[in-house]
Symmetry: C2
Subunit: 405 residues, 2 copies
């Protein structure tokens, strides 16, 4: 019994017609002898509409009740798809997260999956039924309904593949795979046949994530291969997989540009231990997400620290930085809102020399000044002036990908 898990996102099941189309696609898999487990998101904009509805009652809803409310969206779509499959003569049964015991922690609105019971699913698969599972939802130990946060249905799908011991997991979204860059910015992008978990995670972190990070982490942990595909065509898509098994490897596999961050610089801080710790602890307490951090090498007992925060957090972060400035002995706090963080990601960097140098060179050749640089094992990020975001993406893409390096 070859089990395949397929997850269809909100756009894929946005209307009754789309649900019928998804049923037709599932039918072809069932016809090929697959045991099909389907994970669904809520239809189209349902989740947003439910959130809007709640706003007519309160601006500060209880997270438990919010999860109770929005988890209805997937329950509607699974019932609809089961009916659609029946209409096409395919046996099918739908299950909520409660029914198949998707146990999570009690962290409402962003719960983490702890376990899933497989008995019901396996029994229904044995009865030759397509099993349809509500994504995004689970229950905590007191059987309160929880939700997994945005993109949580991806995680449900990967977790199901893991507990059902299959490596086959297809995630249908509105794009048909993972590209080397945003096709709206770079005309000659290529679609990957394969990409590694780590690259995918890095891309997600850098804002180019087709998949929810947690689902990729899960897939990596359990060795599940995720195929990212579109439900609107039959193109092959991109397989997210262990890098050891990959055939195609690029030095640089993706270029991203984030423009939703801003930069803060604290100048002339005392160059002594504990200064940075204090600053970022305080920012952490306020739940301000920090992406890049650069501390300049101190001289004369002074140092500067620059870091990037989401634009929406800028005011809060600035206020806090101003307060801490005196305590930390700094001379000034500066903010720059119009920045871009351009990154190159690729597992090949691990074994290639000179990648950083080539990136800096190509940016310099195009008159783009680099304001901050950070590197991770498989990525290099440069903070540049916001107006150069698209140009930088294109020139790095040309240097590494279009040149076939």
């Amino acid at each position: 019994m070859k089990i395949i898990v397929q997850k269809y996102g909100g756009t894929s099941v946005g209307t009754p017609e789309r649900i019928m189309a998804v049923a037709e696609r599932i039918k072809t898999y069932a016809g090929k002898g697959y045991s099909v487990v389907v994970v669904l998101s809520a239809m189209g904009k349902t989740t947003d509409q439910l959130i809007e509805l709640s706003k007519q009652i309160t601006k500060t809803p209880s997270k438990r009740e919010m999860d109770m409310l929005i988890s209805t969206g997937e329950q509607v779509s699974i019932a609809m798809l089961a009916m659609a499959l029946h209409e096409k003569g395919i046996g099918a049964i739908s299950y909520t997260g409660t029914q198949i015991r998707v146990k999570t922690d009690g962290n409402f609105s962003e719960a983490k999956i702890e376990s899933i019971a497989t008995e019901k699913i396996e029994k229904s698969l044995k009865e030759k039924k397509v099993v349809i599972v509500a994504g995004f939802q689970g229950i905590d130990e007191e059987e309160n309904i929880t939700t997994l946060g945005r993109g949580g249905s991806d995680t449900t799908a990967v977790a199901l593949a893991a507990v059902l011991n299959t490596r086959n997991c297809e995630i249908y979204t509105d794009v048909d795979g993972v590209y080397t860059a945003d096709p709206r910015i770079v005309p000659n992008t290529k679609k990957h046949k394969e990409i590694s978990y780590d690259e995918m995670l890095e891309l997600s972190r850098l804002g180019a994530g087709v998949l929810h990070s947690r689902s990729v982490e899960f897939a990596k942990k359990y060795g599940v291969k995720i195929t990212v595909r579109s439900s609107f065509n039959y193109e092959e898509g991109t397989v997210v997989m262990p890098k050891e098994e990959m055939v195609e490897k690029y030095i640089v596999s993706g270029i991203t540009a984030k423009t939703d961050e801003a930069k803060i610089t604290l100048r002339n801080l005392q160059d002594k231990p504990g200064i940075a710790a204090k600053l970022f602890e305080k920012l952490g307490e306020k739940k301000i997400y920090i992406n890049l951090i650069v501390q300049s090498t101190g001289h004369d007992g002074m140092a500067s620290i620059s870091f990037s925060v989401l634009k929406k957090d800028l005011a809060k972060a600035l206020e806090l930085s101003e307060k801490l400035k005196e305590e930390l002995g700094g001379s000034s706090v500066e903010a720059k809102e119009d920045i871009a963080i351009v990154s190159a990601v690729g597992v090949g960097m691990l074994s290639s020399y000179g990648v950083a140098g080539r990136i800096f060179r190509v940016l310099a050749d195009n008159g783009i000044n680099i304001e901050m640089i950070t590197t991770s094992e498989i990525g290099i990020s440069c903070c540049i002036d916001g107006k150069f975001a698209e140009l930088a993406t294109r020139v790095i893409h040309k240097e590494f990908i279009e040149a076939g390096a």
Copy 2:
């Protein structure tokens, strides 16, 4: 701890504004020291909208999946009300039928409640929370979601009162009590302060039911007093209760007129045992609901049988009757569509003489011919020409109720 169970119907929670109004009402009860358990229907027309949605997929949906689909309606309303109570500073928690184990049989779309677990409810009440329960839904022994059929939330409310050992159960609908007749037809109707379970059941059966029959049967069985009230005002409403405890007793407490039935007459059937049995068995097999049945006394070995069926079943019933006519040796089958069944209901009839005679007299005095008559322990029904429906209701109402008899 005085527990009160309150059920609010779809109109009562039709909009976020209405939900806030219901929260305000609940707040007054919580303020009076009641432990409040609230049962909700889906908001406004939600259930109908979900049914419409399913029709875009199939005309013959699986009942299991239909229950999966429509049970989301109550889940939305309970979460919304919990948020509304929180907004007013009242502790509250919502539970689905699954969460409080409303166990039912497996008869999807018209399941019967078998048991309800009270632990979670009692725990939450002890924590001074208003407990909000999704009406209309339960789970079968395999934890499939079931629904209780139209009006099922009333039954959920009464069942909860029963298992929580309280006799206080308020059912909020769009009318503010039980009237002696339809106020749209009879101008001088009176609202009952009290009415007995049996009268309420008889009224339900005769189409004047404010409550779902099963909820009244449940209430009778467990001695729960149901107060029928409106959520749009603070009028006192009508208490449905054991007749032994009633203070006010009328001979006739309600007059109803059903105009959704039609009459079929089979003439000159053989007057021998088994003829009627055969006819009604066959009708039963086709799930045709029969209300009145009259068999004329036979002479010359011949008899006629008249019966009433719902107008929507008339064609089906006629076809079947024609087929059976020859087999049963009848001479003709006649149908009359424009009939009305006018009924008088009252526990007082049990101990009063001459009620039937007075009804027939008042109809005759107004030139209304009676085509069929049946009686139950607490009711008398007359089939008359459809055009007299309203007149008959008014004159019987005048005779018994306005005259204060």
